[in-house]
Symmetry: C2
């Protein structure tokens, strides 16, 4: 069987994702589509709108055959690490190709850019380091370094665009595999990644989340199946947002020892007292973020730090877990997906795990993280209980 | 001026406390009454019903001239350490006498018992140690050891009664001072310490708290001034109970590393996984406690452990803070109390602190603890804010 892979968050699944699913199948001529999907916390350092099981149902209802989890150690990281984890997992799943949406839309610029940056990697790293010493954030330092180094012969890819950046890192990570997959890209349709305005039938996930947080209709931008999954979810569960975790995060910041705060992943020496002081003064996550944000510490960067404070994830455990992909966690599959898994399972280089109960050591970080996700304030007791039980003992979803 | 001291929790102040205040003044022939009062968390490992400022007002409205805080490092400890801290503080405040309520009611049995246990202290400790090795709790081991050692000549004091135990430790701690104060005791009136039933105008604080938790009238058992202070408090603030902290404690237990849990004060190696497992299964503090309680781990003992988990207080910081009294924190005073403080302040051996802002290092444990107390779930934002501000920058209450 010919499997294609995609890397997704589905927060939530929308019409743009539906287009991506179908275009991938068409371009890859695949008969199985595998999505590696972030679990409870996402790349921009946010809790997922709805739990991973509900998002798995959305995917399986809309053309995806297999959903595996991108573990916390990769899902909450900067593009480079995020992409490396995702590509390794698709490789473990024996995908022949993978396909990502990009603002660029053509593959060649990615391949050429990857090749040129690889040639210049040492000069580039040096440039980024010295720029960060001057107080620039990592993304700004990268942009400046590329502008300096390639001013005579500009790179063919616009690396200021978020999906181009991710795509570039997918291609780079793929190049590092023993047997690279075939990369494919499609032009992103409709609104841009960060756009909060919607147009046509396609809106960014950000715009759709804002509609959902405000309890407004987002029907126009979501497949029917997703709408009914969301409606069913809301009868029993929550729409998760950072505000629901603010009482817990605030409590943690008000009681943590400074040494322990400094040991949290991505926390830099010196920012601790500033975080604690802001927590003292802030009644909401939003006002906390407004207080803490600076030019150096971008919104996304602070959100990622706060995700790790909330989940109590320290530098050591994160670095250990992100060192390499040591398992693949299966969240759900269709019948078609099941046949594929039967065919490849014995050939896989890492274990394919169906239940966390079977591998509590390998999954310890993800188990902890999903427990914190389930402890959202205002969550009804039965909902928290259901999430905790599901995580630990339920089999993958079969749709 | 002749100052007398009392050790109190006032959770809340009731008619029995009013009797204690007046009897102390009469017996001690004092012209100033000083109460050393537990702050946010109490000896049985519970959050105080209302914050320390509200309880200070209750005391000052009912005959107490000065309220100083029994720091967290003493207020949440077993009788021996609790008493040692309280007696040292009253000594620092230059009290000539102190007076405690007891089931016994006469002083001589306390003095004789203290003398005999002092003589037999080595045999006794040996007995307690070997009894605990057999799985008995500390209080049970003490009782059994005394029964064994003094079976021919029983001690004149019934040390199965909670206020007799406390009184005994006050007397013992007092004996260790360079210049011991004059001990005094009065017979406790009305209901016993743990009685949940009330009779007459005096009910135990436990019975009164249960009435208040159930939103029933407790008017009969409280001075009028306390009733109006409570009524005013409820317009703006909360009646605190363990249940309000359960979402925070549960979150903490679900995200803490086992090593860090084992480092928490009073947590014994081996109980950690049991606590975490119970937290996973319990939607309320009450159901958690029912799951965790055993013959070895009494209710009070687990509540104290949970207090330290909630406040993230580890063995090292607690042992350091409880090693000796290094400051006295002034919570409130009457005009009469103020005159007394002016007279003694310069003679005091440790600093008398009015604002935490002035001594953040000395008070670091108490500052952290009062922040956690203020972070109770369901607390309205303005109330949390008020508690945080008051703790940090407000002067003592002057009534």
């Amino acid at each position: 069987m010919n499997a294609a892979g995609i890397v997704v968050e589905y927060n939530p699944f929308h019409n743009g994702h539906f287009y991506h699913v179908n275009e991938t199948k068409r371009k890859a001529k695949s008969d199985v589509l595998i999505a590696v999907m972030s679990g409870s916390f996402l790349q921009r350092g946010e809790p997922a709108l709805v739990d991973k099981w509900t998002r798995t149902k959305m995917a399986l209802s809309n053309g995806v055959d297999i959903v595996v989890e991108l573990p916390y150690a990769f899902s909450t990281q900067k593009a480079e690490t995020f992409a490396a984890g995702a590509i390794q997992i698709l490789d473990h799943m024996k995908c022949r190709s993978f396909c990502f949406g990009s603002e660029e839309g053509q593959l060649d610029p990615f391949l050429q850019t990857a090749a040129r940056l690889y040639e210049e990697r040492e000069a580039l790293n040096e440039c980024v380091r010295s720029s960060m010493k001057k107080g620039n954030s990592y993304p700004t330092a990268q942009t400046l370094a590329r502008e300096t180094l390639f001013q005579d012969q500009p790179l063919p890819l616009d690396l200021s665009k978020p999906n181009n950046i991710l795509g570039f890192h997918y291609v780079t990570a793929n190049n590092e595999l023993n047997h690279p997959m075939q990369p494919l890209t499609i032009l992103r349709q409709g609104a841009g990644y960060h756009d909060e305005q919607a147009s046509g039938h396609i809106a960014s996930a950000t715009a759709i989340r804002n509609l959902l947080f405000d309890q407004k209709q987002a029907d126009h931008f979501l497949p029917h199946s997703v709408l009914s999954i969301l409606t069913e979810h809301k009868q029993n569960g929550l729409i998760h947002s950072w505000e629901l975790y603010w009482p817990l995060l605030r409590y943690r910041l008000l009681s943590i020892h400074l040494d322990d705060l400094n040991a949290i992943y991505e926390i830099e020496e010196g920012i601790g007292p500033r975080l604690i002081d802001a927590a003292l003064k802030s009644n909401t996550f939003l006002s906390f973020m407004e207080r803490v944000k600076t030019k150096r510490y971008t919104w996304t960067r602070i959100q990622r730090m706060m995700t790790h404070v909330l989940t109590n994830t320290n530098k050591k455990e994160m670095n250990d877990a992100a060192a390499h992909v040591s398992f693949v966690r299966l969240l759900g599959m269709t019948e078609n997906g099941r046949s594929y898994i039967r065919a490849i399972k014995k050939e896989m280089a890492v274990p394919l795990l169906s239940r966390t109960a079977a591998a509590v050591d390998l999954l310890s970080l993800d188990i902890k993280v999903s427990r914190v996700y389930a402890a959202a304030s205002t969550a009804p007791a039965h909902y928290t209980e259901q999430l905790l039980d599901h995580e630990f003992s339920a089999p993958p979803i079969l749709l």
